[in-house]
């Protein structure tokens, strides 16, 4: 369903108005050389691994075929037999074809071009699921539509989250997370090189005792070399977010509240070290779960940041002629070298030890030193809270301000997606998590206008 708008927006041949497909070099109807037409700039970033954009996308969805034409459907029923657990696979009769290919005429394959004028076909590429079309309530569907593997699109997904056909792990809920809370939005993505998302975040908004609004965002990056880093980041972000939402309405000063929230997060991570490792984890080395933390609290006049580790906060004013700034100082080897005057920034960050962190949350941390700082910006802007998965691709404040969209304060969720997309386009070597918080916090109910 979510694919339909894309089809309506198919480009047309500039000569004969025949619809052309994205990969075509020549128009199939008139032979017009499409390469002379500049491709419209792709103004939408890579938002998710499946390339879909816009709200309401069913994520995860199978990657759309590049040619736009569906492949011959491989169905689980093509190969009768049992699943890996020994139970017979459910039969997929033609009427229960999950794609609806079986009951619709096959559209032209990817190697075929349209040599005739466009037919006024309502669904030129893919017929709708007959069950959905004929039976909007969809209550009489003969069986649950089997979840189909996103990797091979042939096998069912078993209860362990693996494909019954090709064995590939299916995207997990945490692979890509988007959340909005009042004026704050955050997006977290697994990236392209890691097998799971070890980042986590919390966003929230509340009101101070005087009725003025406050928004908060917490971002945590699990330390991969530790055991269960994903659990650590989840526990820390939850604990810190909950602590802030409890403390701020009581009138605790935001900076104190953030300090206490980081302490609460540290305790939550420490507690994990006592729990037994999850059954799936046969890690070669077992050590205490650990993560970084960075957070911000934004009120009508105050901007507070706090952190442990190398996740960062950037300040990007709406008026881009004003300078942007990085508001945190990494607990990292490189930052310490630079701070101590032992190396230049370029030298330090070129060293392979650059990203070794010197502060983290976890039972094996030497000493918990939460850093906090508060600012009173004299103009409006956005606060970007992120893990190194993003700032590796926009390290300086200037680079960050270039990739933050101009309307970031109005569309924080969109901006967070754009920033995640920037990291993925750059290679996505790490998990990416970005929270975007507008400053000053807009009054309650003012909406995003």
């Amino acid at each position: 369903m979510s694919q339909m708008p894309q089809q309506a927006a198919l480009p047309k041949c500039p000569s004969c108005a025949e619809p052309v497909e994205p990969g075509d070099l020549f128009c199939g109807a008139c032979g017009y050389d499409l390469s002379v037409v500049p491709e419209p700039p792709q103004d939408h970033p890579t938002l998710t691994m499946n390339g879909a954009s816009g709200d309401g996308v069913d994520w995860p969805a199978p990657e759309p075929d590049r040619s736009g034409a569906p492949q011959a459907p491989h169905l689980p029923a093509d190969l009768p037999g049992t699943d890996s657990g020994g139970t017979p696979l459910p039969e997929h009769g033609p009427g229960t074809d999950p794609h609806g290919h079986g009951s619709a005429p096959q559209p032209a394959g990817s190697g075929v071009r349209f040599d005739r004028p466009a037919e006024p076909e309502e669904y030129p590429l893919q017929a709708p699921d007959p069950r959905v079309a004929d039976n909007p309530g969809n209550t009489a569907a003969p069986e649950e539509p089997a979840q189909v593997c996103v990797a091979c699109r042939a096998g069912r997904v078993d209860s362990d989250g693996y494909c019954e056909n090709c064995g590939h792990a299916q995207p997990r809920e945490r692979d890509h997370v988007e959340r909005e809370s009042g004026p704050v939005a955050a997006v977290s993505d697994r990236g392209l090189r890691h097998h799971r998302n070890e980042d986590a975040f919390a966003v929230g908004h509340t009101a101070l005792p005087d009725g003025t609004p406050a928004a908060l965002a917490i971002v945590c990056d699990g330390v991969s070399s530790a055991t269960r880093p994903d659990d650590a980041s989840t526990a820390a972000s939850q604990a810190a977010g909950d602590a802030l939402l409890a403390a701020l309405p009581r009138g605790t000063h935001p900076q104190t509240a953030l300090h206490e929230a980081i302490v609460a997060a540290a305790q939550a991570v420490n507690a994990l070290a006592e729990e037994p490792a999850t059954a799936r984890e046969h890690a070669p080395h077992q050590n205490a779960p650990a993560c970084t933390i960075v957070g911000t609290v934004v009120t009508s006049g105050l901007l507070v940041v706090g952190w442990v580790g190398d996740s960062r906060v950037y300040w990007v004013p709406d008026d881009r002629s004003a300078p942007a700034a990085r508001l945190t100082e990494d607990d990292s080897w490189a930052a310490q070298m630079v701070a101590a005057g032992l190396m230049s920034e370029a030298e330090a960050y070129a060293d392979e030890r650059a990203h070794a962190i010197t502060g983290w949350l976890g039972a094996d941390a030497y000493e918990l030193e939460p850093h906090t700082a508060s600012f009173k910006p004299d103009r409006s802007g956005v606060v970007v809270v992120c893990t190194d998965g993003l700032w590796n691709y926009a390290e300086t404040a200037e680079e960050m301000s270039e990739v933050v969209p101009a309307d970031a304060a109005e569309r924080p969720l969109h901006s967070a997606r754009v920033l995640v997309g920037h990291a993925l386009d750059g290679g996505g070597h790490d998990n990416v998590t970005v929270a975007v918080v507008p400053f000053p916090a807009p009054p309650q109910g003012a909406g995003s206008a």
Binding site: G85, G86, C163, H168, L192
Partner: protein, 446 residues
């Protein structure tokens, strides 16, 4: 936690030990699957026994005793075989079906006769022992005929466990190797069988081949006086079996190849070629019957390379038992073998200690076999190299039993480097013991 709803089947559990991390482009996934069954049995079980004391699943046992002419040289051999068989009969649980077969170039029913099985009680035990006195040596050796008769008798009763115990003292001279092979193929999967060689005039490969094909144990009883204790122990193990015909079912996704499936503990047994297809992408590997015990399997699969950050299921391992109606009962336990591609070199280059240990144990068995073969063939340099490697492996992995046996065949100069000299004089019994027991492994020190 005995599950009484599923009586007659002990509880199986499965643990997978592997390093799931592969480097970019990595394709080979190794895993050790430990299968443990508890809840039924006789020894070492914390769970409540499945059967009241002195009872068990219905079982049938056939005792095959070599009565060829050579059993009279020395005469103590026949006497000891008779005593050992009597001791085994005394170990039979009441209600167990049993038969005694005297084996020469033909198979004779010694007890009860008439193509039937006797049901063990005080009276039948006594009658069987009386019948044993009539056993006399004379004739040749055709083990295939003994096995075929045992198969006929064992399958005349409707029982859960079917087991054979075979004793021989000589080579299978009165039938061709093909005939024995055909008999083993016919019997495989129909009953399990332990095989013992008494004295030193038998062929190690024949006896281990029988045990391997029929999923039993093989051993040497060099001194006939030790037979009774060995037979008693074998029968006790047989009486402890709870469930027969268990298969290891391995499912692998499209595009993967199974390099091998090996049992690696308590002995090395390559099961790769014994796969029977069980639906798309799944195959069953026979493991025989189970009591209260634990075994380890080494699974090696080749998966299609995937990009960094990808994760896939390389194999799903479960246990199944065929049912009378042709379906299979899944025993519940299952293990997942995973593959995760990472650019973390530390993660992808480490070898799981269990996998490393059993890779070494399998190499140890191989080195002994090759070393002894080379020694027999007169290639003493090759034999020294192979047996030296075996000494090194046995030493490194803490396989003390095998190390002791090796020390009777070679003089160990330095175990750590595998420097050895072949002994000039080796007792035949020592060499045969080493060869027979070369596949015995020890478990990894935890």
């Amino acid at each position: 936690m005995a599950n009484f709803a599923k009586s007659h089947v002990p509880q199986f559990s499965m643990d997978v030990y592997q390093n799931e991390y592969l480097p970019e482009g990595g394709r080979e996934v190794n895993a050790i699957v430990t299968v443990t069954s508890t809840g039924g049995g006789t020894v070492g079980s914390a769970a409540a026994p499945l059967y009241p004391r002195g009872q068990g699943p219905s079982a049938a046992v056939a005792l095959m005793v070599d009565c060829s002419g050579s059993m009279d040289y020395p005469p103590t051999k026949m006497r000891n075989a008779r005593d050992a068989t009597a001791a085994a009969i005394d170990t039979l649980r009441d209600g167990t079906h049993f038969a005694v077969i005297g084996g020469t170039h033909v198979a004779k029913e010694v007890y009860p006769g008439g193509g039937r099985l006797a049901v063990a009680d005080a009276a039948t035990r006594e009658q069987a022992k009386q019948a044993l006195r009539r056993l006399s040596a004379g004739g040749g050796t055709a083990i295939g005929t003994w096995l075929r008769l045992a198969d006929r008798l064992l399958n005349s009763a409707d029982v859960t466990i079917r087991h054979g115990i075979l004793l021989t003292d000589g080579r299978n001279e009165h039938e061709s190797p093909e005939e024995l092979r055909a008999a083993l193929d016919a019997c495989a999967g129909r009953f399990t069988c332990d095989a013992r060689g008494v004295g030193t005039d038998w062929e190690v490969k024949e006896v281990t081949g029988i045990a391997s094909a029929l999923l039993g144990t093989a051993d040497i009883v060099a001194d006939p006086a030790g037979l009774a204790a060995d037979f008693t122990q074998m029968m006790e193990t047989a009486m402890g079996k709870e469930v027969a015909d268990v298969s290891l079912r391995v499912w692998t996704p499209v595009g993967t190849t199974i390099r091998f499936v090996k049992q690696v503990a308590p002995t090395v047994e390559d099961l790769t070629a014994r796969r029977t297809e069980a639906g798309p992408r799944a195959g069953d590997y026979p493991t025989g019957s189970w009591g209260d015990e634990s075994r380890d399997y080494h699974l090696c699969v080749e998966v299609p390379a995937a990009g960094l950050g990808q994760e896939m299921l390389a194999a799903r391992v479960s246990l199944v038992v065929p049912q009378a109606d042709g379906s299979v009962q899944n025993l519940g336990a299952q293990g997942l073998v995973r593959a995760v591609w990472t650019d973390d070199m530390v993660a992808s280059t480490s070898i799981n200690p269990q996998v490393a240990h059993y890779t070494g144990q399998a190499e140890l068995a191989q080195a002994i076999k090759q070393g002894l073969d080379l020694r027999k063939a007169g290639d003493f340099d090759g034999a020294t190299a192979k047996l030296g490697r075996a000494v090194q492996l046995a030493n490194a992995s803490g396989n003390a039993d095998t190390a002791k046996l090796l020390a009777k065949v070679v003089d160990v100069v330095d175990a750590a480097t595998g420097t050895v000299r072949l002994k000039t004089k080796v007792a035949e019994a020592d060499e045969m013991t080493l060869e027979t027991r070369s596949t015995k492994t020890v478990r990894v020190k935890k």
